[in-house]
Symmetry: C2
Subunit: 403 residues, 2 copies
């Protein structure tokens, strides 16, 4: 157990949090020895010793004094470059870049094996909630049936304001941005991509299979209307943006990100504001619920600290489930029950429903509730894009699950 000497890439909100947290953890036996940033002169909330800063990636990668790279930069391409180069040089990495990870995990898992170098990234999914580590270690068996949750704090904050405080969507969004929960370009959060990337990472550790983001149906909350909110309220449910991966049989699992009608008896019903909540369901332990702050400077930084400390003990993910002999495969051949609200769009001309259960035509808007194949939604995703259509999952036991 030698001391961890960190080369830190990125000194934004999370990077500054890591600086704080490492200083506070007196028993951590870790030290930040170099910080690589684009602009050392940029005014920052937390000041670090000027001598720590560098603008040169090489200065960190070449330093014999550094035995861990911690990467928390926003640009996924730059993150990929740094992570890969570090690993190729045999320097272990702790990363928080979910977009980068969701895109490049197969290659980075291979690199870990061939180069015998660790890559940890618990902070990339749900900030301070230890989802990845628990899926990898504690739920290290094939009893796992489902991981489902609210993985994005910004969109959840907005939906909370809208539902619990009756604020207009636009006001809620503006407030989320003002509070720093939502990015200046909020589409990443509210269109579901942030949740999607986390779900991709989670699925690798939950079921041992990587599914590329573009193969997963993802629908956000930006088209939500007052009429959708009113409808949900009348039915006594809340609308939440939910990501889920579900084993539908011994042979198959499915996964998707979309708004969902959540009934009050569900754990995630009471996950409000910027919080995250994850339900882990297994064959023998029923449902476990983990709840906490999914984002923010210090919560994310404390998760990064957990990964840093794990390196003190040479911890690495083993991806044990990837080697399981019997492993379920990904399918979109599964029927969902969905609510689709529309007005101008001739929705029946786009979507083919297996069965229509309700059809409402009103002055303000129309909706249809029906059974539809997930593969059909995938196929028509691009045709729905940009239209004034809102779509929500109405959870049922999958209609055509094969047991």
């Amino acid at each position: 157990m030698s001391k961890i000497k960190i080369g830190l890439f990125g000194f934004g909100v999370v990077g500054q949090g890591i600086y704080e947290v490492v200083r506070k953890a007196k028993n951590a036996n870790a030290e930040i020895v170099k910080i690589c940033v684009r602009d050392p002169e940029k005014p920052r909330k937390i000041q670090a010793d000027k001598r720590l800063f560098t603008t040169s990636v090489e200065e960190i990668l070449d330093s014999p004094n550094i035995n861990l790279v911690v990467e928390v930069i926003n640009d996924p391409d730059a993150a990929y470059d740094i992570v890969k180069r570090s690993m190729l040089r045999g320097i272990p990495v702790v990363s928080g870049s979910k977009t980068m990870l969701a895109r490049h995990l197969p290659e980075l898992i291979e690199l870990q094996k061939t180069r015998h170098v660790a890559l940890l990234y618990d902070a990339s999914s749900c900030g301070s909630i230890p989802v990845i580590r628990n899926l990898e270690e504690y739920y290290d068996n094939d009893l796992l049936l489902e991981v489902k949750g609210i993985l994005n704090g910004s969109s959840n904050y907005i939906l909370s304001r809208v539902f619990d405080h009756a604020e207009p969507y636009a006001d809620a969004l503006a407030q989320a941005q003002a509070l720093g929960f939502a990015e200046s370009d909020p589409s990443f959060d509210i269109e579901g991509y942030d949740s999607l990337f986390k779900l991709v990472i989670i699925t690798v550790h939950a079921l041992g299979t990587y599914v590329a983001p573009e193969r997963i149906f993802t629908y956000g909350i930006s088209t939500i209307h007052d009429s959708d909110i009113r409808y949900a309220r009348e039915k006594g449910v809340k609308i939440k943006l939910v990501a889920q991966v579900v084993k539908v049989s011994d042979e198959h699992f499915t996964m998707f990100v979309m708004p969902e009608f959540v009934t009050p008896d569900k754990y995630i019903y009471s996950v409000d504001d910027e919080y995250n909540g994850v339900v882990i369901r297994g064959e023998c332990y029923d449902r476990q619920f983990m709840f906490g702050k999914g984002a923010g400077s210090l919560p994310t930084a404390s998760s990064i600290l957990s990964d840093i400390m794990a390196r003190l003990h040479d911890y690495r993910y083993e991806y044990k489930k990837m080697n399981y002999v019997q492993k379920p495969g990904y399918t979109t051949d599964i029927t969902l029950k969905v609510y689709v609200r529309y007005k101008e769009t001739d929705i029946h001309n786009i979507l083919h429903f297996d069965k229509i259960r309700e059809q409402y035509i009103g002055e303000e808007s129309n909706y249809v509730i029906g059974d539809i194949l997930l593969s059909e939604l995938m196929d028509k995703r691009s045709q729905l894009s940009g239209r004034d259509v809102f779509l929500a999952n109405i959870p049922i036991f999958f209609l055509n699950r094969d047991r």
Copy 2:
């Protein structure tokens, strides 16, 4: 990674669950090769191959074919004997016996070191909720401030029936026994000892310090009256049996088990029925909440399975926090605000309050609300025993915390 061959001690509710779960986990690479029971002929819900049974402890300990002992027997003395003998022979152990562990942890930790043999026991605290593992690994730093929760399902079930369903205490207790949540001798659960033993184990992994059970103030729910329930209802709170360990300064922590008035804004307020819920609070990540089934055959067995699988990868607890240079020490020199309801007992003759905030004298019962040292409660614990006195913590920021 060789195959795990298990010698199982105990084939009661949990033992049978383990048998089921190991069979279900197809990728587990683990097998139960021998089961030691007192009476192989006893009728059991789940049947195992007769040839697996033995009544001889030696047959398991002497078997070169067995590389893991799993111990889930009720008698703590017998459990201690088996665990110790296994470890002395160099056979790693997975144990679920909280009473035994809470009493003997220091010796068993020493044995792990000197004999280089692993002892895992995640199932001993909160069944399927991975509290120990997360405290040991994920919260492996000194940012942790508090672990607080509902650790006993039986007493929580009873309080739930009483509060949410307005059932008389005696009926709720009888129902809990009928459902198998409460033992035939329910004092272990309802007097708080089950929670206490779990808290002792949790504290070793939370703060790196073992505190013997007899040094910890423990008060149960058996003396609860209608008037207490009415009082709590009027104040809009629920009474829960809560175990907690709290860092009160950089130098000190305190811990106790007692009924508590829980306000609706607290996570544990909605932990009902036989469920467990644990709040982990840290300096940077605020509050994390873990929720799930704390007991029962399969949930406990699935937690045992996690420990079994961990042995496939030679996992062992490192007790890293025990080696921290700056470690807080245990104190009872801390002031609590408590509600004490009494009738015949002259409570003011027994308990010395630092400050009395409220005093109520009624026809049915009396109560006092005041500030009192935890050490004073400890000193007078035996004098309160057997009396018709109910006591509940009213959470405040500790009055004399030194920061």
